[in-house]
């Protein structure tokens, strides 16, 4: 009977439970995704040359735990708000406190357990999918990366089940203490904006001071070390919450006093926001943090990825060079895309020399990397400055030779002399492409084909840029991988949090919108009100999230050469995603709360 009552509750409010359930599934999935990296020390060690990484993950874990706790507490409040009327009714019918407590326990823990099981499954799936996608995209070796990671499964279960058992006790305790009558009418109590001005001012000042300390701490990681990250974490989370609390309460109160509020549905929209302002500020703070984490992770990921070509391009000018290409090589060459420059040079060899035609160099100088005044620059080499750069050419133009030429020196000769030389002639072709990463596969194949053809046995013998790329990529792609992977995870959590917040209130809001329609509000105005209300939920955390990221990037000054170098790409990708998600949410919410045709 008890089980029937508990499960019957789920059946009768299927949609609300679906919202609750999917929210918790995403939360536990993201939690798992994060842990799959964070608890895999072998992966962290082999993919990061920065000792700090595992500590960064440790603090990330703390932050994620805070966020998840807020999320679960919120989900739990939602669960109770759905059920407290029913429980009150059971109590009115004479159910004993113990029975009710048992009911709550069964329901809360079974929802939690099921969500964790499914969530871990989804987490494993997402980890596999995102992991493989990124490994392919980044050509990252991602050694020791394992989508199905035992400790992560274990800790996800321990954490979530612990939280839900705790929640069940809190729920039961709170419910049994609240008078039955109050439970029956719990869903319509407003939240008066009655905060004292002095409290608000104090909160605002506190928020700014805390944020300032947090931002400062992130710039001082060099001296503060780990303390800095911990300090930043605590102060920024609290500062974000206080800032939303103070500024939104003040902003709404201020707008309500303006003429603005007396026009159209503005007053209603503002009241919708202030109605549950406590919930809102908590969720907005969480969303702002998730926004910052997701955007920050993706920006840093892209930053590390951008380091790769930047560093590789300092090693060599030519992306790939072929010597006397055979059919296999030519087939791969044909697959190169975005080729920006191709040059052909004729070479002849004898016992001591590899001869190059000076007139060919005069038309198309070969390019070398030179290190001048702390910067690497490209120099063009012709007969005129050949002597000066002879040593460098011997070193850097190893791609113009094959192992068989090991004892031969380069020699530049005039065109007439070159023509007279007897030895066999071969063509060396240099290629430069716009995007090395995009041409990874054909370049790899060309290098392999050349190695086979000319019996090249080592990277040193080859001298191709590909080997530098592999080396640098090995160093940075692991970090880029972590950045993107966590970016995706936090983005999923962000989406789920916003969606959850908005949909969990939808069934109450639907009543209000129906009333408005009954008293003759145009559908267009209702839709505008929905857009504004949800817009506020998206806009404020977004703005603060961007500010957090801009300050947070300071932490990476030592690791990235230009942490602020290329913000446009990640920011615009992220903002486009965010706007699309906003439109989707508005559409979904409208379809729930606004009736197409009021006939009932």
């Amino acid at each position: 009977m008890l089980r029937k009552l508990a499960l019957g509750g789920i059946r009768s409010r299927f949609r609300d439970y679906a919202v609750l359930f999917s929210g918790l599934v995403i939360a536990s999935a993201v939690f798992y995704m994060f842990l799959a990296l964070a608890t895999n020390t072998a992966f962290l060690k082999s993919n990061s040359f920065i000792a700090l990484t595992s500590f960064v993950f440790y603090f990330g874990e703390v932050l994620l735990v805070i966020i998840t706790v807020v999320y679960i507490v919120y989900a739990n409040t939602f669960l109770m708000s759905m059920r407290q009327r029913d429980y009150a009714m059971f109590m009115m019918l004479g159910a004993k406190g113990r029975k009710i407590a048992q009911l709550i326990f069964i329901e809360t823990v079974s929802v939690g357990l099921l969500a964790t099981v499914v969530g871990t499954g989804v987490g494993i799936g997402l980890t596999t999918a995102a992991g493989n996608l990124l490994i392919n995209m980044l050509h990252a070796p991602a050694t020791h990366f394992n989508p199905v990671w035992g400790p992560a499964v274990l800790w996800t279960f321990v954490f979530f089940l612990g939280m839900f058992v705790l929640a069940a006790f809190v729920n039961a305790g709170k419910l049994l203490k609240t008078p039955v009558l109050q439970l029956l009418h719990a869903d319509t109590t407003p939240n008066r904006l009655q905060q004292k001005r002095s409290v608000l001012v104090l909160q605002a000042i506190g928020a700014i001071v805390l944020l300032a300390i947090g931002y400062w701490a992130m710039t001082q990681l060099g001296t503060l070390q780990l303390m800095g990250i911990g300090l930043a974490l605590v102060t920024i989370v609290m500062g974000t919450y206080l800032l939303f609390n103070a500024s939104l309460v003040a902003l709404i109160a201020w707008l309500k006093r303006r003429r603005f509020a007396a026009r159209g549905l503005h007053n209603f929209t503002l009241s919708q926001l202030s109605f549950r302002i406590r919930d809102y500020t908590r969720i907005l703070a969480v969303v702002a943090m998730l926004f910052a984490l997701a955007l920050g992770a993706i920006t840093v990921g892209l930053g590390f990825q951008a380091e790769i070509p930047a560093l590789v391009n300092q090693q060599a000018v030519y992306d790939v060079v072929t010597v006397a290409p055979n059919a296999a090589t030519r087939r791969q060459v044909a697959k190169l895309t975005g080729v920006t420059a191709t040059q052909h040079y004729q070479e002849k060899t004898d016992r001591h020399y590899v001869y190059l035609d000076a007139s060919a160099l005069a038309r198309h100088p070969v390019q070398l990397m030179d290190y001048q005044n702390g910067k690497t620059v490209r120099v063009k080499v012709t007969a005129a400055n050949w002597e000066k750069y002879a040593d460098m050419a011997a070193q850097q133009l190893s791609t113009f030779r094959v192992p068989a030429d090991a004892d031969r020196q380069f020699k530049l000769v005039p065109a007439a002399r070159f023509a007279q030389l007897a030895g066999p002639m071969r063509t060396v072709t240099t290629y430069q492409v716009a995007d090395f990463g995009a041409n990874y596969a054909p370049i790899k194949a060309i290098v392999a084909a050349q190695a086979k053809q000319h019996d090249i046995k080592s990277a040193t013998q080859s001298g191709q840029k590909f080997y530098s790329y592999e080396l640098v990529n090995g160093m940075f792609s692991g970090l880029a991988f972590m950045g993107f992977f966590l970016g995706i995870a936090f983005l999923a959590m962000l989406a789920s949090t916003l969606m959850f917040k908005i949909l969990s209130g939808a069934s109450y809001d639907a009543k209000r919108y129906l009333m408005l329609q009954k008293i003759g509000v145009r559908p267009r105005l209702l839709r505008a009100s929905v857009r504004q209300e949800i817009g506020a939920l998206f806009l404020f955390p977004g703005l603060l999230g961007v500010v957090h990221v801009l300050f947070g990037l300071k932490m990476f000054t030592g690791l990235l050469r230009h942490p602020y170098g290329n913000l446009l790409v990640p920011f615009s990708i992220f903002i486009v995603l965010y706007v699309v998600y906003y439109l989707l949410t508005v559409w979904l919410y409208e379809s729930i709360v606004i009736h197409r045709d009021v006939t009932a």
Binding site: R263, F275, G520, A600
Partner: protein, 252 residues
């Protein structure tokens, strides 16, 4: 005085259920008029079709056949913005469960229809104060609905319905959730609004006492209008007794 009726209902029927499913005919051809300034009651037991009728009159539902005109305008074909505007300007509702927005204060609830027309702030305030004074709720304007008693809530709802000066005020069991004192107060207020300001009122109720305030009562049973009683010059007490007697015979 206008000659055209403020509400004109002609041969309205309403059938629930799709043609191939089990059907239920809630209204079987209802015809009546309400003249300007009239206070009309519609009585019937639960299931008699009175709520269906009121929903159709107030454009919240559509009749299966027949026409409804309010202030000379056919409302059955209205859609979208025209329908919304019609609701906003021509009709006021008072519902049994108040239908107040619990996230707005009483003042904001009452001012909402005016804000929707972007009326100037001061004019809104004046209009709300005026109607609040008439209904005796001036002191509670800054309270939220949850902080009001049932009677006060219903007065706020009435104020919101009247602030636009609609052609007709529809009441769906407005005293249904009120204690007897609050109910009497509200009915007195409605009667005086009707008398002094000429607001036409159509009240749907199953409570004989509420109905005794009307000038004319139509009894609805099984989807049709049966008996009709007229207040005339009788005292309210006599009229109340007459209603009780009619109910006694009518319900059998």
């Amino acid at each position: 005085m206008q000659t055209q009726p403020v509400v004109s209902v002609k041969a309205v029927t309403k059938t629930y259920g799709k043609p191939n499913q089990k059907q239920f005919q809630a209204l079987k051809g209802v015809t009546f008029d309400v003249q300007p300034g009239e206070f009309v009651g519609i009585m019937g037991a639960s299931g008699s079709g009175k709520t269906t009728l009121l929903n159709i009159l107030s454009t919240l539902d559509r009749p299966t056949s027949g026409t409804v005109a309010i202030n000379g305008r056919a409302v059955t074909g209205l859609t979208g913005n025209a329908l919304a505007d019609f609701r906003a300007h021509q009709v006021g509702f008072i519902f049994q469960d108040f239908n107040l927005l619990e996230n707005l204060t009483a003042r904001e609830n009452i001012a909402l229809p005016l804000a929707l027309q972007n009326m100037a702030t001061k004019a809104q305030r004046d209009a709300v104060d005026r109607v609040a004074a008439t209904l005796g709720i001036a002191e509670v304007l800054d309270h939220y609905p949850t902080e009001l008693s049932g009677g006060q809530k219903q007065r706020v709802a009435a104020a919101r319905a009247l602030v636009q000066e609609p052609a007709i005020l529809f009441g769906d069991e407005p005293t249904g959730a009120l204690d007897s004192t609050s109910a009497k107060d509200l009915l007195d207020t409605m009667a005086s609004l009707n008398r002094e300001q000429g607001v036409a009122i159509l009240l749907v109720t199953h409570d004989p006492f509420s109905a005794s305030y009307a000038q004319r009562i139509m009894f609805i049973k099984d989807g049709q209008i049966g008996t009709e009683l007229v207040h005339g010059t009788k005292s309210q007490e006599e009229f109340y007794q007459e209603i009780l007697q009619t109910l006694g015979t009518f319900q059998q």
